[in-house]
């Protein structure tokens, strides 16, 4: 799952660094992800994992690190 998240971040995150160089809990916004790019990341994740994030999950916090994205996807997978 993490590899797939990294691939989405590489394609949509427009980060100045390679997502592979980031730690699991590193703040993606602090690493340079703009709020504009974060929307592309959300869409990319919905596409790659075939899920829909409910509104309560569409927060800055949820998409702020690889770990928090994984936790959200896990929660959606469990609920499915």
């Amino acid at each position: 799952m993490t590899d797939k998240i990294l691939a989405v971040l590489a394609e949509h995150g427009r980060l100045p660094v390679s997502p592979d160089s980031l730690g699991d809990g590193d703040d993606l916004y602090a690493a340079g992800m703009t709020s504009h790019a974060s929307i592309s990341v959300m869409l990319g994740l919905e596409d790659a994992f075939d899920v829909e994030f409910p509104d309560r999950m569409l927060t800055r916090e949820v998409f702020s690190s690889i770990a928090s994205i994984r936790a959200a996807l896990d929660e959606l997978a469990e609920a499915a």
Binding site: Y29, G32, D55, L58
Partner: protein, 371 residues
């Protein structure tokens, strides 16, 4: 009526007396602001006046003098930011001073080099050797910059922070140097006196708002701005509508103009309903522990659309009022004059550009689901 609103009404009457001169000379509405200070209205939120009453005050002032209303609204936005957290001892001391001295707070949010994006800063909090901090910000406009006692300024958290990693700093006039850049001769909202400034401040680390700006903005600054501006703008629309109504009454009931007035009334009612719904929902969500609903992109979308749609409606209503009043409304020397109201209303779609908000919303719409 509460004492607060009675005081605001009295100040609005003072504002109305001077509005033509304020507009003509593009001068600060000093009489109205003094009257608001006398009524202790600047510390209303800090003194426990309900937010809805402060919003209503913006509407009342907007009917008399949009510039005075805008100064009042912007000041209350900064006060709301100071009150947004229990966890800021410095602000508690400042708010006590505010209640006593009725200090006027301005804001320094826009910056040259960010393309109009308030969510990014170039300037930064620079820690100095002696334990103080400094910041230097090139602001293309600072509303009532020469008249504010103190300032709330957005800036990067530190010299190494990303452009979006912002904080808000509250600095006092005697900690601040303002170098005026350029002149002030705009189409409308002329009394807000908002030329550009280079703002240099030196302050204690305790004066930095403890909440990251991204959260402070989403929960407090952006919704409060859009709600209070919305009320003031609706005040402009109501005043225009009332002048149109007077003109129809004079001409006698019936006819095309009366029908146009009814159409205008529909638009005004829809706008007011949207604003009321926005106010109620924000207050409800703001009162929730941790304010989770206000962290969502759905909330950002709603607060943005509140701004774009009310700002668009009010200039349409004001223009509609001009069509009804005809030549009497077109004349500046007539009790039915619409000119200033229309010019002031046109600022609404520009201050925080609707184009930029629509661009953001178009993006958010791709992920936010309609519930």
């Amino acid at each position: 009526m509460s004492d607060f609103l009675a005081g605001v009404k009295a100040a609005a009457a003072v504002a109305a007396e001077h509005v033509d001169d304020v507009d003509r000379a593009a001068r600060f509405p000093v009489e109205a602001i003094e009257a608001l200070k006398d009524a202790k209205a600047l510390s209303a939120l800090a003194d426990g006046v309900p937010f809805a009453d402060v919003a209503q005050a913006c509407l009342v002032l907007g009917r008399s003098c949009s510039a005075a209303g805008m100064v009042f609204a912007m000041h209350q936005i900064e006060v709301a930011c100071l009150l947004s957290t229990e966890d800021w001892p410095w602000a508690k001391g400042y708010l006590a001073d505010l209640s006593r001295e009725q200090r006027l707070i301005g804001s320094v949010t826009s910056e040259i080099g960010t393309g109009g994006d308030m969510g990014r800063s170039v300037s930064a909090v620079e820690p100095q050797d002696e334990g103080t901090c400094t910041l230097v910000k090139q602001a293309p406009t600072v509303s009532y910059g020469e008249y504010a006692d103190d300032f709330l300024t957005t800036t990067r958290r530190g010299p190494d922070a990303e452009p979006g990693d912002q904080v808000a700093v509250m600095h006092l006039r005697d900690q601040t140097t303002m170098e005026k850049k350029g002149t002030w001769d705009p189409l409308g909202m002329r009394g807000t006196c908002s030329p550009g400034f280079v703002v240099t401040a030196s302050f204690a680390p305790e004066q930095v708002h403890p909440t990251p700006y991204v959260t402070l903005g989403a929960e407090t600054m952006v919704p409060v701005s859009h709600l209070l501006w919305g009320h003031l703008w609706v005040g402009i629309a109501i005043e225009s509508f009332e002048r149109a109504k007077k003109s129809v009454k004079t001409a006698g009931p019936g006819g095309v103009k009366a029908q146009k007035l009814s159409e205008l009334h529909g638009r005004l009612s829809a706008t007011r309903a949207q604003l009321a719904e926005g106010l109620n929902r924000w207050q409800r969500e703001y009162a929730e522990p941790g304010r989770p609903a206000l962290q969502t992109m759905g909330a950002t979308l709603r607060h943005n659309v509140l701004k774009t749609s009310i700002s668009t409606s009010i200039s349409q209503i004001t223009q509609g009022a001009l069509e009804i009043t005809g030549i009497a409304g077109f004349r500046n020397d007539s009790p039915l004059a619409i000119g200033r109201l229309l010019r002031d209303s046109l600022s609404a779609s520009l201050m925080v550009s609707n184009d930029r908000l629509h661009e953001t919303n178009a993006n958010l719409l791709m992920v936010v689901k309609e519930s």
